[in-house]
Point group: C2
Chain length 325, copies 2
Amino acid sequence: MPADDRRYMAAAIALSGRGRGLSTPNPNVGCLIVQDGRVVGRGWTQKGGRPHAEAQALEQAMDRARGATAYVTLEPCFHLSPRGPRCADLMARAGVSRVVIALRDPDPRTDGQGAAWLRDRGVAVDMGLMAQEAAAAMAGFVLRQTRGRPHVTLKLGLSLDGRIALANGSSRWITGPEARAHAHMERARHDAILVGGGTLRADAPRLDVRLPGLADRSPRRLLLTRGDAPADWERIGSPEEIAALERVDHLLVEGGAETAAAFLRADLVDRLLLYRAPILVGSGLAGVGDIGLEDLADAHGRWRLRDSRMLGVDRLEVYEAIRSA
Amino acid sequence: MPADDRRYMAAAIALSGRGRGLSTPNPNVGCLIVQDGRVVGRGWTQKGGRPHAEAQALEQAMDRARGATAYVTLEPCFHLSPRGPRCADLMARAGVSRVVIALRDPDPRTDGQGAAWLRDRGVAVDMGLMAQEAAAAMAGFVLRQTRGRPHVTLKLGLSLDGRIALANGSSRWITGPEARAHAHMERARHDAILVGGGTLRADAPRLDVRLPGLADRSPRRLLLTRGDAPADWERIGSPEEIAALERVDHLLVEGGAETAAAFLRADLVDRLLLYRAPILVGSGLAGVGDIGLEDLADAHGRWRLRDSRMLGVDRLEVYEAIRSA
C-alpha cells in the first residue's frame, strides 16, 4: 500500500539520521523490515561504516525476514568488500520478498546492480520512493558522489540585528540554553567542525558535544588558517581543501565572520543554521565578512527556508542552498 | 454570554485599527452595536478625531440601538467639547441597554465618569474586557496618557546576516514586493515617519504610502538632525523631543542605523518591525549603531515576539518592548 510504504520509508529515513556524523566512510543508510504490518527489524549504518543498516536490520529480524518487505534509504550494496557481506545478496538469502529503495546508489560499483541482483532472485524491487528526502538525510554521501566534497553547514548564533558578539568579542551568551543544546546536538551529526584562526585565538572553543550520553560523539576539529594548527586540530589552508578530507561527509563551519565569508565566496555552503536570539546588540561583530557581493539582485534566490522553530526564546531557522542541478 | 462578548469586543478592537494614524488628537476607538445577535452599527474614530466611534456606530444603528449592547474599546467620553457630543450621554439617550467597555479612559476629564453616567441612567456597564488587547490597539493614546509621549515603532529591513544595505549604501532591494507593500501599509497606520539626516541625504526617501487607495494616508515626515530640515519636513533635534510633537500618537522610525541607535539608547522604542529577506549580504551596513551595550546579559529579556509571518519569501517579525510597569 503506497501510504504504508511512505510511512515505513519515512521511518527508515529517520533511522538513517542516527548514523549521520558516524558512518563514514560509508553512507548513513537506514533500514526497516516489516512483516505483516509489524516492524521486525531496524538498522542504521554503524560507527565507521559497519555493519551496514541492512545487515543490522536482518540480524534483528532473524527468520521473520522471510517473506517480509525491507525499506532501505539507499540501494543495497553489491560491491565486494573485505569489510563485510554484500547487502543485496544478504537480503536475497534471507528470503525478503520485496525491497523498497529510496535512492539508487550512485557509486559505480553498485549503481543498479544491487536492485538487478535482487530482481534476478525473484525479489520485487521498487526504487525511487522519497528519493529526495533520503538524499537530504544522506546529503554528505550524495555530495561526495556528485561533487566530490563534503556537505557543509554554516552555523551562526545571531542577535536580531545580526551580531555574533559585542565589539570586544564577547559572545557569551547571545542565545539561550535550549539553542546551545541544539547546536551541540548538531555537532554530533557532523563528522568534523571547522573554525578560523581568529575564532580559535579569541574564543579557544572546545567544539565538543556537551550533552549527556553524547560526549563520545564529539567530532574532529579543523582549523582554517594560513599558519599551523595546535595539537588535536587538523589544518586546511582554504575552503576548497575540504574535498581532500578523508572520512568527512558532513562538515559544520562555526565561524568566525571571515571563515564564513570564505566558504560563502567559494560557494561551499549547503545549509545555514541560524540561531536567533530576541536581543539587539548594536555595534558589534557581524556574522559574515565580505562575500564579494556587488549587486543586491545577485543575493536573491539562493536560500530556501527548510525549517523554523522556537528553541526557548530563540528561533532556529534552517536554510538550504538553491543550486541549479 | 462571555464568549460572544469576547468575539464582539475583538471585532470592535479590529475596527479601532482603521483609525490608527488618522484619529489624533483623539484616540482611535472602535465601537460595535449588537441587537439580538445582529450587528446594527459599527464605528471608529474618524480622521482628525470626529465623529467619535460611538457617534458613528449609533448613527448607523438608528432606533435599532434601543435595547442593544454596545462594545466599545475605550470608556465613552464624558468631557464637554465644542467639537462634538459626549458619547456617554449619546448612548444613554439612544436607549442602549448595556455597554461593554475594554479600557477605562485614563483622561481625567472622563476616568470613570462616563461609566458612572451610564449606570446612573440604568444602563448595565461591564468594564475591563480585553483591556490589554484594546490598549495595544490604542498604544499611542495610552502612552500619551501614561508617559506623555507617542508610541514608537522601529522598522528594519534586513538580510539574514543583519545588513540593511551594501557597503556602498545600496538597499534596493533587500526585501521583496510583499514585504514592501506591508511596510507601506504600516506607514498608513502611523501619524508620522522619522528618518535621520544621513538616510535623507543617502536615499532621499519619499516616505509616502504607495498603495492603491491609500495615497492620502501618507503620514507627516520628520527628520532627526542637528541641521535644518528641507521643506515639507519637520525637524527634531533629539529622540526625546517626540514628546512635544502635537497630534502624533504613533511614530514610525525608519532608520538609519544611528537614528535607530539614538532611539534605542533613549529607551524610546516600543515595537520592532523586522522584515527579513532570505539573503546573505556579507560586509555592508548594519541596521543598528552603537546602543551603548557593554554586557550581553543586559540585552536579554527586553523584547517579546508578538507576531511572525511570511510575506512572500520574507519573514515579518514583530517584537514589543518588555517594560516593568
